[in-house]
């Protein structure tokens, strides 16, 4: 096949992939919208549609990720365009796994996860370049897959924990079960949700620790320096420290009720900063980052 023909074929495949990605983004958006009506009406059926919608979307999204992997001939998390898609997929998959495993029968966190995933997809589609570039020398390491997969698994768990914590806070304040109103309709078990968020962070915390360790080991292999106080490294340490504070706050009786949920939300914000905000910060303040390839 001639060069031109090969490049045209790749452009055609990329066009198909983009279409699929738009469909995925729209499906996430639809799940989010249904979730919004579920919140307004409290109808159980709408809640089940949110979860069902997310199952369908994640199935299509899995196909998209396989497509991209085959197309690029490498793992699909090199550029920010790809990692945003990977983030949306892993957050939704983690939510659906938790939902199926813990059988809460509560669909509200799915509404939040759908919103976050839709946001990630549209941010990727509208602002990033979908070009498939080969792996640059800096990323050619056995640590690459481990580091990224585990870091994003931790992010996914933190997204679900955040969604569960928000559910807990919103329902506790707006629809207390004792009122017998909408809270009862949602079958809100405040105590359970409070525990779920904690258990999720117990899973995410060692994962984030591994992501930081593997990143340090990788940096030691690449540059002989395991830590450089690069903005991304520092923000991952901030996120880890905030979750460490969260876990310790659970052991302080006076902090358990109010400080812990606030810390969980702060941890999520720090996680978003680590993933996206740090690149904006680096651009805004002109601070060089060794993770510039992830922008």
């Amino acid at each position: 096949m001639s060069q031109e023909l090969l490049l045209s074929r790749d452009a055609f495949l990329l066009a198909q992939e983009l279409r699929l990605f738009w469909i995925v983004g729209i499906l996430y958006g639809l799940s989010f919208l249904i979730g919004f009506f579920y919140l307004l009406t409290g109808k159980e059926m709408l809640g089940r549609w949110v979860t069902g919608g997310l199952w369908a979307t994640v199935a299509v999204h899995t196909l998209l990720i396989i497509f991209r992997t085959v197309e690029g001939g490498r793992p699909p998390f090199q550029s920010l365009y790809e990692t945003l898609s990977w983030f949306a997929w892993s957050a939704t998959a983690a939510y659906l796994f938790v939902h199926a495993r813990w059988k809460t029968g509560i669909h509200f966190p799915g509404f939040i996860v759908a919103g976050i995933s839709a946001g990630a997809c549209f941010y990727s589609l509208l602002t990033r370049s979908p070009e498939i570039m080969p792996i640059p020398p800096a990323l050619q390491s056995p640590w690459y897959e481990w580091h990224v997969v585990i870091a994003f698994a931790a992010y996914a768990v933190f997204v679900v924990s955040f969604a569960v914590e928000i559910t807990h806070l919103v329902f506790e304040r707006r629809f207390p079960i004792s009122s017998g109103g909408r809270g009862r309709a949602f079958g809100f078990p405040a105590e359970g949700f409070y525990r779920y968020a904690h258990r999720l962070n117990l899973i995410g915390f060692p994962m984030l620790a591994f992501a930081i360790f593997s990143g340090a080991a990788w940096a030691n292999d690449a540059w002989g320096r395991y830590w450089s106080w690069d903005p991304k490294e520092t923000w991952s340490l901030i996120t880890w420290t905030v979750y460490a504070i969260y876990l310790h706050s659970k052991a302080v009786p006076t902090w358990r009720e109010k400080a812990s949920p606030a810390l969980n939300i702060l941890g999520f914000i720090c996680m978003v900063m680590t993933f996206l905000g740090v690149s904006w910060l680096a651009k805004l303040l002109g601070i060089p980052s060794m993770h510039a390839y992830a922008v």
């Binding site: 090969l6 020398p137 060692p206 002989g224 340490l237 420290t241």
Partner: protein, 459 residues
């Protein structure tokens, strides 16, 4: 209550506040450009100058305040670890009877003591904790030891950081063909040696027995041909493309899509005692020889140009001026070496680079591409790219802290993982007046208290 420094230092709340204060420093470290000079910061229009100066915000991670805070956190951690160690050593054998019956989680079991002990097979019977109708059984890895282990891991990591801060040093070398460079695994500039020098204790001297001689044999670059597409920036056009109203087109200039694949350095090293050896290294694949490790950091390209017949020596990607052309000229990276094409073929290509011009008013232009050996007329001048010499930029580092960090990583990760995801369960039976009562405690995500209870109840 009277103030007790020891109690305050070992309290959980102190740990939390110290961690929170560390976070504030971390955040500041990502806002202020670390390692820059105060003068440059002021010239760039930096704000809060007195505060920046007073708190050393441009070198925050070596500032006295940060070091004091790190020291306090380390002391807090050490005191906590010591206290926990003592607490675990004198851990009560079992919950005393009067406290046991006050616990709302105590349940009456539907079976006699003997049957319960039989059903609890698989659990460790803690004989020394059991007496007078009280039995304690355990299963899984004790969470309190795991928690202690990962806190110990943090202490070992801090020792590693201290080792790095005091003894580590790093140097960069630029290797040209035919110009060997001597490097030493001893540096008088480590913080430790500087401290010794300042205190005049055994001042450091150069050590010839730690010197290596490194020579460049070759530096090779390789590229991959990639797909560059004509993709719009406007969101609506992107949506139109996504919905199929517009198609994605491949870029028509395939040579512009050469993405770096590999920077490979082949070198020879003469160690202090052994004979000369040859080796190769590339990014993520350092070259190790005894205590020496060399890392591929980058490269330098020295370009020889002829401008209207006059020879000019410039460095790629660094601005230069040409008489008669207002403003600055700069070259892109000189691409040279081999390219792995999409059709599976590998081709060597003639080196080339893009020339860029920035006018005095800041306007940017890209006059075009210069291919080695092919004269081109740009901005009214005749340019010829004559030759290029590439140098490999390597670094080497000596860091005794890494060993401690590696140990700490294992302690921390294994402890955290087993503590969070693992399984631990302890059950205490108390038999009184012909009835048996049980209290079950579990830790870890895999611990299923309901399952243990169901088995004990014979369900």
């Amino acid at each position: 209550m009277p103030f007790s420094p020891r109690k305050t230092l070992s309290s959980l709340k102190t740990s939390i506040w110290l961690l929170a204060a560390m976070c504030v420093f971390f955040v500041l470290g990502t806002i202020f450009p670390q390692g820059s000079e105060l003068k440059d910061y002021m010239e760039a229009g930096g704000k809060f100058v007195p505060l920046v100066k007073w708190l050393s915000l441009l070198n925050i991670f070596t500032s006295p305040l940060f070091l004091i805070l790190s020291g306090l956190l380390s002391i807090n951690l050490l005191v906590c670890i010591y206290d926990r160690w003592r607490a675990m050593k004198r851990r009560p054998a079992y919950i005393p009877e009067e406290q046991f019956f006050l616990n709302p989680k105590v349940i009456e079991m539907p079976a006699p003591e003997d049957a319960l002990l039989l059903r609890a097979r698989g659990m460790r019977f803690k004989e020394k904790y059991s007496e007078g109708g009280i039995h304690v059984l355990e299963k899984g890895l004790p969470y309190y030891w795991l928690s202690w282990i990962y806190h110990l891991g943090i202490v070992v990591a801090i020792l590693g950081f201290l080792g790095t801060a005091l003894f580590a040093f790093e140097e960069e070398i630029t290797l040209y063909k035919g110009k060997p460079v001597k490097i030493s695994l001893y540096s008088p500039d480590t913080r430790w040696n500087k401290l010794k020098k300042a205190l005049d204790i055994n001042p450091p001297k150069e050590k010839k027995d730690k010197e290596y001689q490194v020579s460049l044999l070759s530096f090779e670059t390789e590229y991959n041909q990639a797909l560059k597409v004509d993709y719009p920036k406007e969101p609506l056009t992107r949506l139109a493309m996504g919905l199929g109203f517009k198609s994605v087109m491949a870029d028509e200039k395939p040579e512009e899509t050469y993405a770096p694949r590999m920077w490979l350095t082949r070198l020879s090293i003469k160690p202090p005692v052994r004979k000369e050896l040859e080796g190769a290294l590339w990014v993520n694949h350092p070259y190790r020889m005894g205590a020496l490790t060399l890392y591929q950091m980058g490269f330098e390209q020295d370009v020889t140009l002829l401008v209207d017949g006059k020879t000019m020596k410039i460095k790629s990607m660094e601005p230069f001026q040409v008489k008669g052309i207002k403003g600055d000229l700069i070259t892109g990276m000189v691409k040279a070496g081999k390219v792995y094409k999409k059709d599976g073929t590998v081709e060597s290509f003639t080196p080339f680079f893009e020339l860029k011009h920035t006018g005095e008013d800041g306007t940017k232009k890209e006059p075009g591409r210069l291919v080695q050996g092919k004269p081109q007329k740009f901005l009214g001048k005749r340019f010829l790219f004559k030759r290029m010499e590439e140098a490999s930029v390597l670094s080497y580092r000596v860091d005794p802290g890494v060993t401690f960090i590696s140990i700490s990583v294992w302690l921390l990760f294994a402890g955290l993982l087993l503590r969070s995801l693992g399984y631990w369960g302890r059950i205490q039976f108390v038999s009184r007046n012909g009835k048996t009562y049980a209290l079950l405690s579990t830790r870890g995500l895999l611990a299923n208290g309901e399952k243990i209870m169901a088995r004990l109840k014979g369900q």
